[in-house]
Symmetry: C2
Amino acid sequence: MNHIFSDRISDVPKSFLREILKTTVNEDVISFAGGLPNRDLFPIGEIKKASVKVLDEFGGDALQYSNSEGYLELRKWISDRYALKMGILVNPDNILITTGSQQGLDLIGKTLINESEYVAIEEPGYLGAIQAFSLYRPRFLPIPLHFDGLDLKTLQSTFQSYAVKLIYGVPNFQNPSGLSHSDENRDEVAKIISNSNTILVEDDPYGELQFQGEKRRSYFSRIPEQTVLLGSFSKIFAPSLRIGWMVAPDRLMEKLIIAKQASDLHTNYFGQRILHQYLTDNDLDLHITKIKEKYSKQKEAMISAIGKYFPKEIKYSNPNGGMFLWVILPEQLSSRVVFDLAIKEKVAFVPGDPFYINRTNANTMRLNFSCVDEETIETGIRRLGKIISDFIS
Amino acid sequence: MNHIFSDRISDVPKSFLREILKTTVNEDVISFAGGLPNRDLFPIGEIKKASVKVLDEFGGDALQYSNSEGYLELRKWISDRYALKMGILVNPDNILITTGSQQGLDLIGKTLINESEYVAIEEPGYLGAIQAFSLYRPRFLPIPLHFDGLDLKTLQSTFQSYAVKLIYGVPNFQNPSGLSHSDENRDEVAKIISNSNTILVEDDPYGELQFQGEKRRSYFSRIPEQTVLLGSFSKIFAPSLRIGWMVAPDRLMEKLIIAKQASDLHTNYFGQRILHQYLTDNDLDLHITKIKEKYSKQKEAMISAIGKYFPKEIKYSNPNGGMFLWVILPEQLSSRVVFDLAIKEKVAFVPGDPFYINRTNANTMRLNFSCVDEETIETGIRRLGKIISDFIS
């Protein structure tokens, strides 16, 4: 039985991350490897109340099949929030509820990518996007991500040399790096894209988790006709319900809905109703404030420990939001080598390799700060600092 | 902006069904067009108790990200039920929880179908499968479905002439026809498949809803190494949670899990926990008995009304389970013509066309009996009978 599998499934990178995470399940290990929101912050009591209310008041309605677009009241809520928080007008008809924003990536691949077409992606980039798009067999064009955003020279030359079908990025507090595109960078990137036929996929799961200051204007508000904007309730509510959404221009919506229907008919509707009930009966902003306060303290603890224990030549991001921080080791030092020693010292992180299209022994590491308390962060970073210092000296 | 869409999305048949269903939303219309389980039977109170218990006892655990395979205890429950009800041994490692069994179809397409490969499908066939597979651009080979199962002559010659990658069927109380494969038919079909490298997709959402008598042996128990078996909680619990599963041989599982992870990371885990709690605290068999009693009475009412009001030359299936019944009109009579008149008389059904790969003005119609009470069934069938009689006389 040869050739049983499709060519496309052979192209999907095996999740190195899965293997990494398995080694860190041990309770003794201080893990900066995960990518999870902090479970202590889930609004358990409120979700219970919402679940009971939905079943008491709507019963069978909330348990029946529903439409592929998603619950209209929830789409209206999302539309209202865009208007209120970002000054963006989005018609609920341009919002599609997805099974996590991961599914948004799959639907984009299904609907837009032909084999061998070009997809530009920031590098380091979100692994889930690389996996989702890989199934549709594009050729990836990496665009380096710097501390202030995309490398404009590479972007410019890439758009000059290739018919780029899609460009993908997480402009706010990116996974894995915690880096954001500056306003100036966005202006330039939007200008380059607007001179092309390229669709920008703006993935924004962390935008609501900005610790301080004014928010940056989204790409969607700059070039709405060329942007598909992805959002998620996983980081501001709870991930297990798998509820995300996508905002897309009219010309794309019909095909996206067909792809959605073929993929899973519709997103878990009981969950959509519970979520909407929760949003109706509670103050989401108050809840988000709590999350931001906690993550911000955890991030500060990590930054301050890095300052204390890491050699001075090590560079790192200091994100103003999200859940991740990025460390750049000296060029010749593979973070996989550091990882092997770190595991022996019972501290874990994710080595940079899987976040690149085609690179091994990268000198970068992803540190997650959302799931570890401040004291443990200090201990873990001290151990890591010792290992890195030993290599450098 | 030409060529924006992928070729694959252009191949997906537009859901004619969606359009049909829109015309039947009117409350005056007696609708046999839907394909929904009866909402009066959803165990609302029990789901409420299970939701509260899960949150009280497991809290954040049930709201966090989870693994792509699905909740292990739920997979064990499914494995135990196969052993108990069907005498089949399935390792929980060979079970993957999916976002409805619709997603199982998508994952099969992703993992197995290359463009232009051959997929055999019973005809009439389940529309959702045609849609899901279409995205991966196979060539479909229809195998006629008769009152006792697949047409063996066509099946034989198809397997002789083509390298059939997959064959898809719903052997128990099929949607749209309510027809089942007899034991003798299964024997012959399994023999033909076992002489090939073909994978059989055995989709079984209705098997638990058999009204009477002994159950037939599944294809999975006949040719396990060549079968992917799909199951669903939508018809025996509630559809809105979107929880189904697939059983696949070892050699397929790893790739299916990679495809699952790329598609939506994992199925709504809060829902999986609620479902498992429900299954632990309640007697599912008792619940299924209630569903079967109701559907069986509704089916009897439909059969008896058809006997009374349809011209004698009309053929129809008399299913021993499921939710649908199939009517075959005289060869020259398009059911779309009947549909147009029926809507004027405020009764709806689904004309057969969308259930064929490539046929219009088919003389067949799908009637759903699970959502309409017995008295209304009589009224609706009387109206339909009048229209059909007028055509024939």
